[in-house]
């Protein structure tokens, strides 16, 4: 099933390192349970908000319990990794992150499946009453996002080879491009909402359009956040050791992922005409 990893990892397993005296086990941590609490609070808050009750306290508390443990967790891991084999932990984290992206793409997959199924089986597609989506502006957005995948790649390589200034510049460019993309999307939404009076509850076409672009937009936002964190850490000079590069890898992979999803999304929603 996976012979490549077979040879690769069996030799480099954590277990390989050291005698009993050097056994390193991570200590206890409050962060996981607190983050779980925070996510529970946010979910409950979402429930109250969506069902029309007041939810500010839940969201506020939830946000604190999400952000603080997440930061604490990241800090702890960064500290812990100094006592561990950095190459191996990076491999672990990278693999874990890629698997996470697989699961993310499966969520998107369910939305795509919904859309494509209806194209085949709905009595008429696009359904009567759906506006014709303008493609020029989103096409520009697509171009910007695709190009930003290249710029983030340059930044990524620059960090790996220690060219910090170069990395910063390209990272800034990437972030700007991401913001431009989001701006274009926001303009598109505003236009549809204001002039076409086209809302999420105006039929399945609108539901799908807003859900898919919105869900993707949230991912772009998270991607920007990750790039921003990388930039912040560049400013702090955290990346003098290229083996601890997981956070840059993660941000770059995530950005590529967001980009690829958008290409499919653009094709499915805007271009496909049957």
């Amino acid at each position: 099933m996976n012979t490549a990893t077979d040879t690769l990892s069996a030799s480099a397993g954590h277990a390989a390192s050291g005698e009993a005296a050097h056994i390193h086990l991570p200590g206890p941590s409050f962060w996981p349970i607190l983050l779980a609490l925070g996510m529970g609070l946010v979910t409950t808050g979402f429930f109250f908000w969506a069902t029309g009750a007041s939810a500010n306290w839940w969201f506020g508390l939830g946000a604190i319990f999400c952000i603080v443990p997440a930061m604490g967790w990241a800090t702890t891991i960064a500290a812990e990794r100094r006592h561990m084999d950095p190459a191996q932990t990076s491999t672990d984290l990278r693999r874990g992150f890629l698997l996470f992206l697989v699961s993310e793409s499966c969520i998107f997959g369910s939305f795509f499946a919904h859309n494509i199924y209806l194209r085949f089986f709905a009595p008429a597609w696009p359904p009567p009453g759906a506006p014709v989506l303008a493609t020029q502006l989103p096409a520009i957005g697509t171009l910007v996002l695709v190009l930003s995948s290249f710029t983030v790649n340059i930044a990524h390589h620059a960090i790996k080879s220690g060219k910090i200034t170069r990395a910063k510049n390209w990272l800034i460019l990437t972030i700007v491009m991401g913001i431009v993309f989001l701006g274009i999307q926001a303009y598109d939404w505003g236009f549809l909402l204001q002039f076409d009076k086209f809302t999420i509850s105006k039929g399945v076409f609108g539901s799908g359009y807003y859900l898919m672009t919105g869900f993707h937009g949230m991912h772009v936002l998270v991607g920007l956040l990750m790039l921003g964190l990388v930039y912040w850490r560049l400013e702090r000079g955290d990346y003098n050791n290229p083996t601890y590069s997981f956070s840059t890898d993660a941000a770059a992979y995530y950005w590529h992922f967001v980009d690829i999803v958008w290409i499919f999304l653009f094709f499915t929603i805007y271009l496909l005409k049957f």
Binding site: G13, G40, W73, G96, C106, A113, H114
Partner: protein, 534 residues
């Protein structure tokens, strides 16, 4: 390869409750999972008891139909998402690092998070019983439009959806952790094709989880939007399609079935040869069968929808694929039988559960193949025949395998043996109970009793009463097991490192370390023995 590795400071430790809340030790987290599953299997069992009480006589209406529908929905939800899945996750958590010779999981904190995120989900499930309108009553499939707000007011359903999404996060993060652990942390020399079969079964299960659970989350996000934000994903009036929901749900739902049985298969492949005094028969065949089941599991979902009006071509395709799954499953069953053949079989409690599992799962698997046959399925679809079938595979398969696994690895976990005498009693009570309760259900289905009905026509009364009485076998079996587990924890016979003399004939890492294992699992990581060339 490595740069400088600094010496680790001794980690802080807590004791008592704080220890359990903050632990990142895979063994303690495994126990937390198992405890969580234990509580929920009792709660789900209590709901089953209420269901059987209501069905004792036709037309009694002890329980209002609306409440009854909550019971069936929550019974399924608790048993699937909060009992069987966490139980297997707990066993996986506890055993996988031990079996592959690792000191912990790849991401110990993520592991803790995977467990703790289930707690808010569980609380939301429990609380949903008490919100106006009660808990979700859409059946665990939640077919729209029934599950849309128009036909199911109240917000119990919304809590259900959100809780299921949280449980999905738990499963996916847990699966990622297990996959990375398996890929990266095996002892030197343990190639993939030399991994213990339980680890293999979790490799396949985790892969399935990562693909299937997000699809459920996506499907549920759309359902929630339909309920709360007025979207039309599944609402025909807005151009949505309920049949599409069925496709999406079962694209998750059928792999879910294998997610709930494959780790059980893995455990069986350890226990059966251990007590036959042989090594497992046909290791490669077992691995290929696991992978085949995992792959085919994604190609068969619409056999749950043969009566929904899908095209005959689709029916034929899904029928063929569903039947094909019988072949790797058959390979597994016959490999277990071959593993036993000619062995010196010790009829210990875990072995009894495994033998029972083979018998019951064979039966449930065969009725499953019958259900893949379109003309037969359209007759018995949604009748008690199906209820009987999936309880045979889930209780007779998964739960029996789990009980076998619990009895087998309990000495490793606690350092003490379970009482064999009570174990035998537990086995016979549960085994008779399963057959008593679930076998007549097949007959009820043939007689025409459909599932998910709060009351039935009088001609079905006898067998329903019969089945309801069988509940007590399960109840006493469960009580006995609980008693055995609790009492033996402190008072059982002390267990040796290799409590069952498994390593007389095998080289199982988990039996090489002490019982219970030290925090760091192994003082010295065991070496993988040289490969034989057979």
């Amino acid at each position: 390869m490595s740069t400088e590795v600094l010496a680790a400071p001794a980690p802080k430790t807590y004791s008592g409750l704080l220890d359990w809340l903050t632990t990142t030790d895979h063994k303690k987290i495994g126990l937390l999972y198992l405890g969580f599953a234990f509580i929920n299997i009792w709660l789900g069992g209590a709901l089953a008891g209420l269901i059987r009480l209501n069905l004792f006589n036709p037309g009694w209406h002890i329980i209002a139909p609306n409440v009854y529908n909550q019971l069936i929905t929550m019974h399924a939800t608790l048993m699937i998402f909060m009992a069987v899945m966490p139980a297997f996750a707990g066993m996986g958590n506890y055993l996988i690092p031990l079996m592959i010779g690792a000191r912990d999981m790849a991401f110990p904190k993520l592991n803790a998070f995977s467990f703790w995120i289930m707690i808010p989900a569980a609380l939301m499930m429990y609380v949903s019983f008490f919100v106006p309108g009660g808990a979700s009553r859409g059946g665990w499939w939640q077919y729209p439009p029934l599950s849309t707000f128009q036909f199911m007011g109240g917000h119990g359903e919304d809590l259900w959806i959100l809780a299921v999404i949280l449980l999905g996060i738990s499963s996916v993060t847990g699966a990622i952790n297990i996959l990375v652990t398996i890929f990266d942390m095996r002892a030197p020399g343990m190639k993939l094709m030399r991994m213990p079969l339980f680890v293999w079964s979790w490799l396949v299960t985790a892969t399935m989880l990562i693909v299937a659970l997000p699809v459920l989350s996506g499907t549920m996000i759309m359902l929630l939007a339909d309920r709360l934000f007025g979207t039309g994903f599944y609402r025909p009036a807005l151009g949505g399609d309920p049949l599409l929901y069925e496709h999406l749900f079962w694209f998750f739902g059928h792999p879910e079935v294998y997610i709930m049985i494959l780790p059980g298969f893995g455990m069986m492949s350890h226990i059966v040869p251990s007590f036959a005094g042989k090594k497992v028969f046909g290791y490669k065949g077992m691995v290929y069968a696991l992978c085949a089941i995992g792959l085919l599991g994604y190609t068969v979902w619409a056999h749950h929808m043969f009566t929904s009006g899908i095209t005959p071509a689709a029916q034929i395709y899904f029928s063929i694929c569903s039947m094909l799954i019988a072949i790797p499953t058959g390979v597994k069953i016959y490999s277990w039988l071959a593993s036993m053949w000619g062995g010196a079989i010790r009829f210990t409690t875990p072995m009894l559960f495994c033998l029972g599992m083979i018998a019951l799962f064979t039966f449930g698997g065969l009725t499953g193949v019958m259900l893949a046959i379109v003309p037969f399925d359209i007759v018995v679809h949604n009748t008690y025949f199906v209820v009987g079938h999936f309880h045979y595979v889930l209780v007779g398969g998964s739960v029996m395998a789990l009980l076998g696994g619990m009895h087998f690895w309990y000495p490793k976990i606690s350092g003490r043996m379970l009482s064999e005498k009570l174990g035998h009693w537990t086995f016979w009570l549960i085994f008779i109970g399963i057959n008593w309760v679930f076998l007549p259900m097949h007959w009820l289905g043939i007689e025409g009793m459909v599932r998910r009905i709060a009351t039935y026509r009088p001609q079905f009364a006898f067998w329903n009463q019969f089945i309801s009485l069988g509940f007590f076998f399960m109840l006493f079996g469960g009580l006995l097991f609980t008693w055995n587990v609790i009492v033996s924890w402190k008072k059982g016979q002390p267990a040796q490192a290799d409590a069952w003399q498994v390593n007389d004939t095998q080289q199982a890492f988990e039996w090489m370390t002490s019982s219970p294992p030290p925090v760091h699992n192994f003082d010295e990581i065991p070496a993988m023995p040289a490969e034989e060339h057979a």
